[in-house]
Symmetry: C2
């Protein structure tokens, strides 16, 4: 893409990353490159350009840079690429930037050679000469009050593999080395009071050799082919996509992974803005075992490791089927070279079942129209776990973020006969999978017919009037109570299933011609586990965003990540990110440019079915237009079949029959007892 | 299927229905046939036969009969088909059986000729000579205290169609005739105090001629073809299906539609029973407008009309794609002839995305396996609304009932400038769509490794211990609190989103070898709107099942339908069905044969986007095995791609690459700026 016109939302290109590094190198010498990423255009400037790209100058390309200098000194910088200038260079104090894959991978090799780790391995029952069979999942230390945040630390969750292909999570070790990234050395080891030696159980594996040994793969799955002989229904112009009235830009960064910008829906010829920016902005995975040092297991996978940095290279016909378009991701390596992840994002369409259907019972005249969806997907690996992030666009204006959890449980060793005390489940002999939560924070920057929006909470409630009263004689009255969030403090709200609570992002300046209600997008989210670590706990302090299902703030450039810009080793005192931005709760969020932060997710009490690899568990939510379109916006999607009463009366003259002719009966006549005879029955509406 | 061997769960065949009617006719003369349906085998007898079908005699075929005799007399009967004998014949008092399609269709024609209705039409602005343009959606009256339940009544919701192909729901009329099914006459008309004449607005339609007139269909949707060149992966033997370790019987009746029986999962050679019977057993759709007579709008679509009787004839390539197998449904017509619904049930497989995936971050060795699902579907039309009921089976032992709502909103006329008072939304000029709920009751008869099961409620909770206490030093401890339901009274429980509440159907006699927890199926349901009509209201009294999300009863033959056997015109005094069966709450449900009743659904505050036809709104829930399988039960599903660390080390020698070769890049090189070069990148893992 080097030579072509860049969109201001485009991630930095390889040559831009290289140019940035050259400028920084020239000024500051050899450094470790932690981040070189697009510094997103300021909204005020960007909005002007979006409104008039011909006459308004394009926002400049600026690189956001984080480096680690010798001695562990961390610098935040900005590089103006147009002028080849460093415009900001700031030494940070007590802040640790994101841990990169390279830093993670280093730990295991150091561990294997560290005499104290070798000693602990021996105590655990791993002989000295088997240190090549010792592995570790390196995690940031979270926060450990004994070590603070001046030194860059990781904790090494230890495992053993009898064979290099064995699933290590069946063989956890009981101690936890602490790694200093600057010294590249183990500086401490947490050793539990109760020792739990390595359990000598049979490996349990899901790789082909193991399955073949256990009886082989099932042989009764016939192929399902999905083909698009005429190609896809979307168009790409650079990273801008157009599909079924939708138009938006697909960005990608080291931190959030996919970022969608400038989302609009073409409503009968008018491109109506819907969202300025959508992303998964943070997450936290607290574990529920109180025993030291498990409290340190509460990964902020985005802020501490990065959904971009950990993203998988996707594969045609594996991760999705049909006709797929991919986008790559380019990042700096630690040494300033370039690391490219091929196929970091996949884009494809899927058939989505019935879009709408109605039959008139009088004459069986009917219409049935099939739906299509567009999926923008990435999959990232956070050590043991996998997260598939899907941004699903529907034809009717609905956006459905969906997260599929898979991969492997984090595990810890348990002794024979040991009680988990309810903090975990023995999923395999000697393997304790601790209770945990996956809490995600969605950042929604609404732009519902313009930037000035207001958020309301809607609760379905019975009428206050008593049964038998004149206002409610039969007791059936109910309505949606709407509560306006005028100030930030009012917006910190929890989910209420009793009232089927939803939140509405409204443009109160734009009332619907029929309903009189404000044009809105409704947040419908039902998987909203509350943060289970208690108020005042370490996780509660560090993951301030997770205290409520919804917070609303006034828009501010750079308020992107709700646990703060630099998350590793934050103490939570004070809580960084969203709690800061909420301030004293008095800021007005009425009819202005606002951002809605939504925390949702699941509590996971593990079971043996999740081990040694977990079948996908999806979590989903909806952003749905309400009182936004004049009426149903998908009536112009061609139906598969449509007949009207007058056509039925005229013996089905003129009926539209565009049924999918590729579909077949599963069994030919006679092959099954119940196969339908003839064609009439089959196509009968 | 006449000559072949019948399964005791098979619906009555055409010849069995005919034989039943002949026997009844001989004994009782000419009657209106309301129901002739399988009287399901008694469980004790059936269980014995299922255990040993070779030696135990097959349960007899018995027909369940409901007829209406002249004068509106209703009889419940049983006919033993083997002996050709009526074994029960009982005159009912104050009970009205289900309303059939024929009874519904009759009302409109009577209305059009009734002088009082014509008079009201004229008052509303419909001239006498346009009575052929007047339509009605006939509903059961629900319950009207002025009319009781001795006389069989319907209420006629009135509409106008300028043209026979126009959507009538844009033209509601304001009065409501009451129809006596025995007299076949209008006996009363409810006329509102405030009159609302017919609104002369432009029709709004979704039929092809209307879309063409409004600019035509969108032309940018390219085909997605789904083909199964080697056929389907399921086998049918009569109405028994086998697929991916699952085996079960697919029944169908007039009332519930699809009924699944004797569901088992083949766990490494052992067929383990999971559910004895699963069905959608009842539903209620209360409307929230308190104005008379809208309180009567609270359809029990299953008990009052029948999900079987109202089911659509499905169509290849319209309602689903790929290779489809259909089952027909046979019912008696009112006059004793046979009414067959072709393709009442469709059965097909779908690709279901990633089943599991894991990548080792150290070397990018990875596995990715795709999922498949099996869908058993019916779609029924309840006057204005459509419900697509899907029973989705997953390979991992999960069963996912899913309901897709579509069709058309029930509407009422409003005057210009009239306030809806929050009880509804003006979705089109003059069209008030009232707030309503769709509450469904799922009947789950668990058989988790045998009939003796116990239900627990599970709540995710923080530890009681304070932050900083020795038991909870960092405040992160959390666990699942389990509450056993020993007696029926304890089981009447509501959803609690704060604790991510689930319910577990357990076999406490079967503990997992690793976890020590009871083999169970967990009910995970998040769309659990509470019943909004108040305690003591008409709906609350009639829909006793909807008072709580879960009730558990001890199994009893014939306790199938939780609003009672005959639902039309019940007063709710006393509440029929489930409230009766719950009794005083003292019956033991501990380690015995139990039934779980789950009420779930949505509250719908309409918006213009839902009109004139509603894009599908899905509601879903899961029945998920926990501590049931030794470990992940789908590891033997062939992966699309699998490499191990040793294969990566050996330069990918021996890697399993079974990626779908039918999938393609969306754009060929050069056609898009971002297309990937070469194949390596594309298939790179």
């Amino acid at each position: 893409m080097g030579g072509t016109e860049l969109h201001p939302f485009d991630p930095l290109t390889v040559s831009e990353i290289e140019a940035t590094i050259n400028i920084v190198k020239k000024a500051h010498g050899e450094l470790f490159y932690n981040v070189v990423s697009l510094h997103e255009p300021r909204k005020a400037e960007m909005t002007k350009w979006l409104e008039d790209p011909v006459n308004v100058p394009k926002p400049a390309r600026i690189a956001d840079v984080v480096v680690i200098a010798p001695g562990g000194k961390v610098y935040d910088g900005l590089v103006d690429l147009q002028h080849g200038k460093i415009t900001k260079w700031e030494l940070l104090k007590g802040l640790q930037p994101i841990i990169t894959m390279e830093e993670l991978i280093a730990v295991e090799h150091i561990c294997r050679k560290d005499p104290k780790v070798i000693e602990q391995c021996e105590i655990s029952g791993v002989p000295k000469d088997e240190m090549h069979k010792v592995y570790c999942d390196p995690w940031t230390i979270g926060y450990d009050e004994r070590h603070g945040n001046e030194v860059r630390l990781q904790q090494a969750l230890m495992y053993y593999r009898p064979n290099p292909d064995d699933c290590q999570y069946a063989f956890p070790l009981d101690f936890c080395p602490i790694y200093d990234a600057d010294k590249q050395a183990i500086i401490d080891i947490d050793i539990p009071k109760v020792r739990r030696p390595l359990r000598k159980v049979d490996p349990i594996n899901y790789h082909p050799a193991a399955i073949e040994k256990a009886g082989g793969y099932r042989t009764d799955i016939k192929p399902i082919n999905i083909t698009q002989p005429e190609g896809v229904s979307f168009k790409m112009s650079g990273r801008q996509i157009e599909w079924q009235n939708w138009k938006f830009h697909i960005g990608f960064n080291y931190r959030e992974g996919i970022v969608l910008n400038d989302i609009s829906y073409n409503d009968k010829g008018t491109a109506r803005p819907v969202f300025y920016r959508l992303s998964l902005a943070e997450m936290v995975v607290p574990y529920g075992n109180p025993e030291h040092p498990h409290q340190r297991k509460h990964a902020f996978d985005l802020g501490e490791y990065g959904a971009g940095y950990m993203t998988n290279s996707l594969s045609l016909g594996c991760d999705c089927k049909g006709s797929i378009h991919y986008l790559d991701a380019d990042f700096p390596a630690r040494d300033g070279s370039i690391r490219t992840i091929k196929n970091a994002v996949c884009i494809h369409e899927e058939d989505a079942g019935i879009l709408f259907k109605h039959t008139d019972f009088r004459d069986e005249s009917s219409i049935v129209t099939r739906a299509r969806k567009l999926v923008i997907q990435q999959v990232f690996t956070a050590a043991n776990y996998e997260y598939a992030i899907q941004w699903i666009f529907h034809q009717d204006g609905t956006i459905q973020p969906e997260i599929k959890l898979t991969g492997i449980l984090n595990t810890y060793v348990m002794n024979e006969g040991e009680d988990t005390n309810g903090w975990g489940t023995q999923v395999y002999p000697g393997v304790n999978a601790h209770n945990h939560q996956h809490l995600f924070c969605l950042r929604v920057d609404p732009n519902i017919d313009g930037p000035n929006n207001t958020v309301f909470m809607a609760d379905a409630l019975p009428s206050d009037a008593a049964v038998g009263s004149p206002e409610n004689p039969y007791g059936n009255a109910f309505y949606a109570k709407r509560t306006k969030f005028s100030k930030t403090g009012e917006s910190a709200t929890d989910y209420n299933a009793d009232t089927s609570r939803t939140w509405e992002m409204c443009n109160t300046n734009k009332l619907h011609p029929y309903s009189g209600k404000a044009a809105s997008y409704k947040l419908i989210s039902r998987e909203v586990a509350r943060l289970l670590p208690k108020e005042g706990s370490l996780v509660w302090k560090r993951a301030g965003f997770a205290r409520h299902a919804v917070h609303v703030t006034k828009y501010s450039d750079d308020q992107l990540w709700p646990a703060g810009r630099h998350v590793p080793q934050t103490s939570g005192e004070p809580s960084a990110g969203l709690p800061e931005w909420m301030g004293d709760g008095s800021e007005s969020i009425d009819n202005t440019d606002v951002v809605l932060w939504h925390t949702f997710g699941v509590t996971h009490i593990p079971a043996p079915e999740d081990f040694p690899v977990m079948p996908v568990e999806p979590i989903t939510l909806l952003l749905k237009p309400r009182n936004f379109f004049t009426n149903n916006p998908v009536m112009d999607v061609p139906p598969s079949f449509a007949s009207t009463p007058s056509q039925v009366a005229a013996n089905n003259n003129g009926v539209l029959d565009a049924a999918d002719k590729v579909s077949k009966l599963a069994f030919r006549n006679g092959e099954s007892c119940c196969a339908v005879n003839g064609t009439n029955g089959v196509n009968g509406h």
